[in-house]
Amino acid sequence: MSIQGAVLVPKVAKGSPVYKTVAVVGPPNAGKTTLFNRLTGLRQKVGNFPGVTVEHHTGSFRVDSGEEVSLIDLPGVYSLNPKSEDEKVTVDVLNGVMPGAERPDAIILVLDSNNLNRHLVLAGRVIALGLPTLVLLNMADELHKQGGQIDVLPLARQLGTPVALVSAVTGEGLHAVANFLVATPHPPEPLELPIFGDPRHCREWAVRMGSQAAYRPGATPEWTRRLDSIFLHRIWGGVIFAVVIVAVFQTIFSLGQPASDLLQKLLDSVAVHLGNILPAGLINSLIVNGVWKGAGSVLVFLPQILLLFLVIGILEDSGYLARAAVISDKVMAKVGLNGKSFIPLLSAYGCAVPAIMATRTIENKRDRIATILIAPFMTCSARLPVYTMVIAAFIPNRPVLGPVVGTRAVAMLSLYVLGFAMAVATAKALKSSVLRSRDVAFIMELPPYRWPKWKSLGLRLMDRANAFIFRAGTVILGVSILLWALTYLPMHNGQPPAIADSAIAKVGHFIEPAIRPLGFNWRIGVGLLSSFAAREVIIATMGTLHGVDPESHGMALQEALKSDLTPAGAIALLVFFAFAMQCASTMAVVRRETNSWKWPILQFLYMTAVAYVAAFVAYRVTLLYWY
C-alpha cells in the first residue's frame, strides 16, 4: 500500500508545509512560468546563481495555514543531460551541488498535457532522482478543448508519484499543489523506468505510460495551422513580418513620446515646487539641480522603455516571435548567423542586457558570441533620450515626405539604420574570419499561437521597470550628485566658484584636446565621460552642468545645448552615440555570459574606436558640405 500512500495526497490542505524549498522543473513551452507566476504572484524575485549565467526566479507559495514554502523556477529543459548550460544548472540544483542554492526537498514537475508522449521522458529522468515529486499535467483547458483526454490515477500508479491535471491559466486543479506541500513526503516508487541512454526506448516507455492512462493528445489547434498558413506564407509571410516590425517602432514613438512628455511636465512642476518650499542655498541646489534634474531627466524615458518591452513581450508570448525567427533565418544566413539571433537582436532595441541573456537559446557558441558582439549596435532605449534631445535641439522640423514624416523622423530613422548597418558589417566580418563556423543547425520549435497573459507580461514589465528605476536611483543619481559636487568645488569664502573655474571644468578641459577634433567642448567631454557608465547619464550631466550655471540656469536643456555644440558637432555626437559601447551594465553582462574579460574588452575597444572615427568623419563631412 506504500504506492497508494505516495500517489494519493489528502483532499484538504491542512497543517504545516513539510518542505522548505521546492524546485519547479519542466520543458520549455509547458507553461512553467505561467504556473510559477500563478503560485507565487508578486512574491518573487530574479536572481543568478554565482558563477553561472542562467537566470532563475525564486518566490514563495503560501499554504492554507499561512506558512510559506520557497519555490525555485529552474530553466526550461528537455532532458537532464548536463550538456547545455541550462540543463547543467537544473541538474546541479536538483542534486544540491549548486553553490548558493539549497538542495530542494521536493520537485514540482510541469508538463504540457498536450505533448505527454515527448514530455513524459523528462518525467522518467526527474523521478529517477528520488526526490518527492508532484507531476502537474498543465494546459488541461487546451487538452479538453481540443478533444484530448487522460486518466491521472493509472499514470500516478505507474510513475509512483502524485499526478494532477491542471491549468495554470484558469487555475483548475491547482489545489493539488497546496495538498502536495502538506502531505507526508514519499519518494517516488515507479513501477518501471526507461533505459535513459536509448531515446527510442525512452519514448516507447513514455507512450506506454500514456496508454496505461488512456491518454489521447488534443489535436493541434486548427487556428494555429491557419495562422501559420498566413504568417509563414511564401509572399504574405514576409510582408506581414515587415509590417509587424514597423508597427512595433511606430507604437513606441507614437504612444511613448506623449507619455514621456506628460511625465516630463509632471517632474518639472515638482522641481519648481521643491525649489519653492526648500530654503534657498546649498541644500536647495543639491536637491533640485543635483538630484531631481539628474535622475528625473532619465526617468522620463520609462514609458517608452516599458512600451518596447511590452510589445516584444506580446510578440513573444503569442508565439509570433518564433515565426519571425523562421522568416528572418534566410536573411540572417547571409551575414553568417541564423534566425535564432533575430530574437536577441530585436530585444536589443529595448536593452542590450536582456538581449545578451537571450542569446542563450543559440546552440552554436560562435554564433552566440557574434550575436553578443553586435547586439549593442542596435539602437537601445538608452540612446533614445540622447537622440531625442540632440535632434530636437539642432534639427529644424521640416516636412520631407508629406506632413507626417519630417526631417527629425528621418534623422532618427537614419540613426537606427546606422547602428543596424554597422551590426551587419561587423557580423559579416566576424563570421567570415575569427568566428567562422561550419555546421550551423537552425532548429526552432514552433509553439501553438496563444493569447498573451497580462499577468506574466505585467510581472516582466515590473522587473524591467525596477531595473531601470534602480539604475536611475543608484548609478545615475550617484553620478549626478558627484557632478553637482564637482561643480561646487573649490569653494571660495563659502561661495561656489564660477562654473568655468570649478573642478568639473578642469576635468573637462583636461580631455578637451582628445575630443575637439569631433567638435565637442569641455562640457560635452564631461557628459561623454559620465555616459560611459550608462548612455542616458549624459543628459543628467548636461542638466546638472547647466542647472548650476547662472547663465543657462533658466533655459530648457535643449536651448542650453546650443551653447555647447555647433550643428556639425551635434551630428558627430549622434554618430558617436550610435556606435560607442557606453554601458557598464552591458560590459558586465558580456563578461558574465562569455565567462572572460576578453570579449567585453575587445568589444569596448572596437566600438569606441569605430565611434571615434565615425564621429570625426561625420563632423568633417558636415562642416564641408552643410554648415
Binding site: 515527448r118 519514448r203 501559420d228 514576409g238 523562421v326
Partner: protein
C-alpha cells in the same frame, strides 16, 4: 513518380527529409550529424521510428516546417538532408 517497390526499401541513401516535398511524410530512420544536434532533435520529437510530415515551407522555401510527434519544428534544408527517412507515399492519417 517512384516505383511501388521503392516504397518499402529501408535505408535508401537518397531518401532524406530534405528530399520530401511539402505534404509528404516519412518514417525517421537515422541522423548523420554531430551527436549533440541529433540529441536536440530527438528531444524535440525526432525519434527514429516516428512519422514526420513536411508541413509547410517558409517564405523563400527555407527553412521548412516539419510536424512530428505533435509539435512543429522548423529546420533548414541543409540539416534536413542529414536526416534519413523512409518515405511514405500514401500520406497516413496526420500525426496530431
Amino acid at each position: 513518380m517512384l516505383f511501388n517497390f521503392m516504397k518499402l526499401r529501408a535505408n535508401n541513401p537518397g531518401h532524406t527529409l530534405g528530399d520530401l516535398a511539402v505534404g509528404e511524410s516519412g518514417i525517421l530512420e537515422d541522423f548523420d550529424m554531430p551527436q549533440s544536434i541529433a540529441e536536440h532533435l530527438m528531444n524535440l520529437g525526432f525519434v527514429p521510428g516516428l512519422e514526420v510530415l513536411v508541413a509547410r515551407s517558409g517564405p523563400g522555401g527555407n527553412p521548412r516546417v516539419y510536424r512530428v510527434d505533435g509539435t512543429e519544428v522548423a529546420l533548414r534544408r541543409d540539416l534536413s538532408r542529414c536526416i534519413a527517412v523512409r518515405p511514405l507515399h500514401e500520406p497516413e492519417a496526420e500525426v496530431s
